[in-house]
Amino acid sequence: MSEETAAELPPSDPALERVIEALLFLAPDPIAPSELASAAAAEELSVIAALAALAERYAPGQSGIHLRELGGGFTFASDPLAEDAARRLFSRPRTSTLTPAQAETLAIVAYLQPISRPEITRIRGVSADSAASTLLERGLIEESGRSQFGAVLYRTTVQFLKLFGLRSLQERPDVAQWDPSPEEQAELRERLLRAGEARAGGGPPAGE
């Protein structure tokens, strides 16, 4: 906005200025003055006056947030001064501990791979979708073909082995140590599915 334009503008209306400020804060992309005007039910000229006032407040050296004009629209952006701090704040490694949902999902994949999401969900008794997505993103599990029903199958990755310090899958800890009913002879998968269904409120577990 040039000095000359600003000189011809009406004074900025503080309430409208606050509405425009809030809209720019919320919007992910630049917004044109005409769009701001119709959203705020105001004259475009008043919007331009408000933007001029905001440009003064949100100017380099004045504020850590800058008002910028981009591609015919306006948007807020962070001061490049904060770049290093932002990198430190947002680029820290993710917390290295797994959430309970992630640990459960990863354990199921580690012991029963390849395995599909629906089956993981059946064992957990609750959806495993977000946990599985995070594990995929973190490179601990990966896709490994499809089941006969077309569901994507998952297996653990080399990254998984490294992270847990395992030389091979054979080094997975023996389940026996945590097995609440070691006398049961059935296969691990079958027992997990049965327990999962009981947890999800399915039919009574066998024996009742």
């Binding site: 993710r94 012991y111 609440p180």
Partner: protein
């Protein structure tokens, strides 16, 4: 009136009563989601609107609602409830009171939450992705930093089958309505008998089932009964061929 004419407008269901039953039986409506008290209230409103009680449909309604209640209580009972059954009435009332107070507390707390929620109406937070150059880079934690036992423990947790909900305390009906019907029909052959006589020495469950059987006989037009005073003796008569069934027996 017939029960199907009873229209309901509930949180989980809107429509006629018989459709509700059908849906519950087909498990398309979760009985746990249904406030049975609301159904009863709707029925009472309905009765009030009509101004008269039709014993036949009332009977049917009571039987159906009792069945729904029993089903629902079975679904809701957990192990702790078992202890509750051994309590004397005073203790049971205390326990029940504690639960009612609890429910009331959290209902009020929820009203407070709704107020807060409404107060914050219009406050929005920015939910824009970080600029690309700042996107959270995933720094890989060092090798061997995770304990494999975490996995074993998780599997152990998943292998644990929750204790089955015990239904031991729900008495398995050793007496059936059919048996009691036969018993009552036997007595009816004498023309009349007292209810007291029909249930002498019986346990409470048998008494209850006998009431059901009696209602069934009434429904089929085989028996009729009268009671002179509250808590008094109930005299049951066979409906003789000559004696027309009195439908409004209130």
């Amino acid at each position: 009136m017939t029960l199907p004419a009873l229209d309901l407008d509930l949180e989980v269901f809107t429509g006629p009563f018989d459709l509700l039953l059908a849906l519950v039986l087909r498990e398309e409506i979760d009985l746990l989601e249904l406030q049975i008290a609301d159904v009863v209230l709707a029925y009472l409103d309905h009765l009030e609107g009509r101004g008269e009680l039709d014993l036949e449909t009332a009977t049917e309604f009571i039987v159906l609602i009792a069945a729904l209640l029993e089903l629902k209580s079975r679904l809701m009972l957990s192990d702790d409830e078992e202890e509750l059954l051994d309590l004397d009435p005073g203790e049971a009332a205390e326990e029940l009171l504690e639960r009612m107070l609890d429910a009331r507390r959290y209902r009020s707390a929820s009203e407070h939450l709704i107020e807060l929620f409404e107060r914050e109406e219009g406050v929005r937070f920015r939910c824009t992705a970080l600029p690309a150059h700042l996107r959270r880079t995933i720094l890989m934690p060092s090798e061997g930093s995770q304990d494999p036992d975490v996995l074993g423990a998780a599997i152990g947790r998943l292998l644990r089958t929750p204790p089955a909900i015990s239904l031991r305390h729900i008495s398995i009906p050793r007496v059936t309505v059919a048996e009691r019907l036969e018993h009552l029909r036997g007595l009816l052959r004498r023309g009349r008998f007292s209810f007291e006589e029909a249930v002498r020495g019986a346990d409470r469950l048998t008494v209850a089932v006998t009431v059901f059987a009696l209602l069934e006989l009434y429904k089929r037009g085989e028996a009729w009964w009268e009671q002179e005073e509250s808590f008094g003796e109930i005299a049951v008569h066979a409906v003789a061929a000559a004696e027309p069934l009195r439908a409004r027996a209130v």
